[in-house]
Each structure stands twice: as C-alpha cells, then as structure tokens.
Symmetry: C2
Subunit: 214 residues, 2 copies
DNA sequence: CCCCGTACCCCCCGAATGTGGGATTGATAT
DNA sequence: ATATCAATCCCACATTCGGGGGGTACGGGG
C-alpha cells in the first residue's frame, strides 16, 4: 500500500479544485473523497476510507473543529490535518485540542502541502514553531508541582489509587480488585503516607498533577 | 536590544568551538557563556544573562535534562533548547517535559541552527514533526473525559473546589474563605450536583482532567 | 412584582473515611 | 537463614463526609 488516500473537506470550490488536482496528479498520493461541508463527516469518511483527512477550519454547517472532534473521537488513529489561513492561531490551537495532528496553510506552496501529507501519514505532526510553543506551554504546565518527587508506589497501590481517581468508594475498590475492604484501607494508608497527604482529594490531585499513574 | 545572547552547555570541545564560533560571528547573535558541564547551572546562567540557552542532553555530572528541569523551575521564561543527535527521541521528549521549548540536531546546517535560535527567541518552539506528534498525543489525551460538558460553576464554587483540589478539609476551606463550615458544605453539595459526582476524589479528578478551574 | 440564581447560614443522621494499633503469608534480597 | 517488604486481613475510635431537610438576603430579568 504505497498510495496515500486523502479526503478533502473545504467549502471553497477553488480550493477543492486546486488542491484536488494537485493531490490526484501526484504519484503516491490519491484523492479519495472531496466534500464541500463536514456534515455526516463520519459517514463520508467511512465511504471513502482515507489515510489522511484534510479539513478546512471554516465551513458552513458543522465547522471543521467540531467535525474534527467528532471524527477523532470515533477514529482516533485517523490523522486529520487542518486547512487554514495565516494568523488564525487560536482556532488552530483549538483544532489540535480537538484531535487534529497538524495543519496546513492554504497558501503554502504545493511541495509543502505534499510534504506535510506524507509527514502526517508517516506519523509526524507538522506545525509551525509558534503553534508548537502554545502546545508546549500546556504540555509542561503540570509538571511544576510534583516534579522531583517520583514516588514509588507498588502495583497494587496503583490499582487502589486508580480506583480513588475514578471516584470509587473503598468498598467498590475492594469489590473491583477482589480484595477485602480492610485491605483497601491498608493500601490507602500506605499511599497517603508515601504521598504525604491526608485525604482522597489531595491524593487524587497529587496523582493527576504529578502523573503518578503512567 | 537586537542581539540575542546565547549560553552554550556542551561537554564536547569540538561542538563548543564550532558552535561558539558560529554564534559569535553571526550578526544579531552573541555568545555570552560557554560551559562544558551544567553543574551550578543557575549560577552560570545568572552570571552570563542569556536570552536563550543551548543545552546538550548528554553531559557528565548533571545531565542536560536535569539541568533543564532545574533551570526551568527557577526561570520559567528563559527558553532552553536541547542539543542532540539524530534518533534520540525519547530523551528529547523527556527534555520537553522538563521544560525545554525545542531542540536542535547537532549536525544541522548552520542556518538551521541560527534560524532555530531566532525562532525560539521570538517565542516559537522548533521541533521535528515526529516529536511534535508525541507531544500532541499527551496534549490531546486529557480532553477525552470531560470534553463537551463545560460546567458553569459560580466564582464562589470555584473557590471551594480549589480548596478541595488543594487537599483542604471543609473546615479549612471555611477558614480560608472566611465563611462558615455549613456554607462550604452547601457549596460542595451544589458542586457535586453540577459535576455529577459523589465524593471529593471524583470531583478533584473531574476538575483536573476537565480543566474546570482555568 | 415575582422568580431564579448566588451566597450565605443552620440542623440531623448515617455512612464513609482517617488513624492508630495489630497479624499472616509469600517472595526476594542479604 | 533471616530480614525485609508487599500484599492481605482484622479491630477500634474519632472525625469527616454526603445527602436530606430547612432558612435569609440580594440582585437581575422576565
């Protein structure tokens, strides 16, 4: 399978025509679907089976961000790349949060477009440095609190802690793990001591902020 | 201030010489410090006052990742860029988590190095698509749970919830906010109803996963 | 004017939690 | 072999929570 099948969503006929032609005439890349809007996006994608989706951010009806969110929820492994114009960083950022893996500027030169498609298909995430920086800020923000602590929890303690994070009561954790209520309490005591906390809320907060369950 | 001051940490004399020469002879960029190791990194940085730090990942003594973590904790706004060799994605990724904003391949051509420095100084985050994809995966992972919910908490409810996240008991929250214990309980009850949760652990988990306090 | 949401306060009661002791296994390290 | 430690279980006790009521005051919309 060496041809990358691409589906294109864009309300501008001009873009569809120019990008569509580019894609279908490039060896190794094929246009398998071309749509002016993203309504029923999952049905359309199911019909044309693309390897990569190009999605305009601005579209009438269902906009590209919502379509991306919906499609990404359903098909997390299908890479979606946004099409946008220069300077629309906020919405690009929103799109990335919604599940897009990268984006393309519409006025990019044809080679950049093709490169980006190949890159995405190969598992990359093309983006400009300024967007990457925004992403990085979110990415790093959490590590401030529990940075160096690196607590060593046993496997069983992690199970119990995961239960707490999921909002389960001691009894429910016991049932779920097939152990006794008292054992859960024991584990919790040990966990609290290791984390230096005194209640479940603080334990969960420390767990999530410090990514102790990864 | 149009000259970008760069500090360079690398244990290889060859790299220090070649990169150092490149940096000091380029208009608009200046080398303000050049060190073979990252011990006492914050003192060194305080001494030479760089705008951008270039940090080798591999160094004897304190390695570049730890140095980055320490420096980033102390000076979150100082951009740090890692120096590495091709294929070391895991450690690049770790570095980004530790606070670096991007990285450079050591065998990059000189123009790429200079471009990256300028980009970082301008607020960008240069990285290759494959690293960006890794970052994106972490970035997107959280939003799955509480995506569309977007609960509207009142200002006071957020105060109380913040208290829970900080591990405070009802009584401590009451003291901190200068309201009565019973009022805290009222707020908590309302919060639980809005979040559809039944205990503090679940509330904290939902809050942190869904970013409800931003 | 009345309704609704917000913030604030109060009571009761049963269930859950936090903390302080234990104990017993089995595996692993010394 | 002996110590250590994770994992399992148990009890007792005080405190905290969670859910159910109830209330006042204030302000903005309908």
């Amino acid at each position: 399978m060496d041809t990358i099948h691409v589906a294109l969503f864009d309300d501008s006929k001009q873009i569809r025509d120019s990008l569509g032609t580019l894609l279908s005439t490039t060896p190794g890349i094929g246009l398998c679907g071309c749509y002016p809007d993203a309504s029923n996006v999952s049905a359309k994608v199911a019909a044309c089976k693309p390897d990569v989706v190009l999605m305009d951010i601005d579209m009438p009806g269902m906009n590209g961000i919502e379509a991306t969110r919906s499609l990404h929820t359903e098909r997390p492994d299908l890479p979606i790349m946004m099409l946008t114009v220069f300077g629309d960083e906020d919405r690009v950022y929103e799109s990335l949060r919604a599940g897009a893996v990268g984006y393309l500027l519409k006025n990019n030169d044809p080679n950049a477009v093709l490169d980006a498609i190949r890159e995405v298909h190969a598992g990359g995430a093309p983006m400009t440095p300024s967007i990457a920086r925004k992403v990085m800020q979110h990415f790093q923000r959490n590590d401030l609190s529990a940075d160096a602590e690196h607590v060593a929890l046993s496997a069983r303690e992690k199970d119990v802690l995961q239960g707490l994070v999921n909002g389960l009561s001691y009894k429910m954790i016991a049932d779920k793990l097939g152990i006794s209520f008292e054992t859960v309490r024991s584990h919790i005591k040990n966990i609290y001591e290791k984390l230096h906390v005194h209640n479940s809320a603080e334990a969960v907060a420390k767990t999530l902020k410090g990514r102790l369950l990864e």
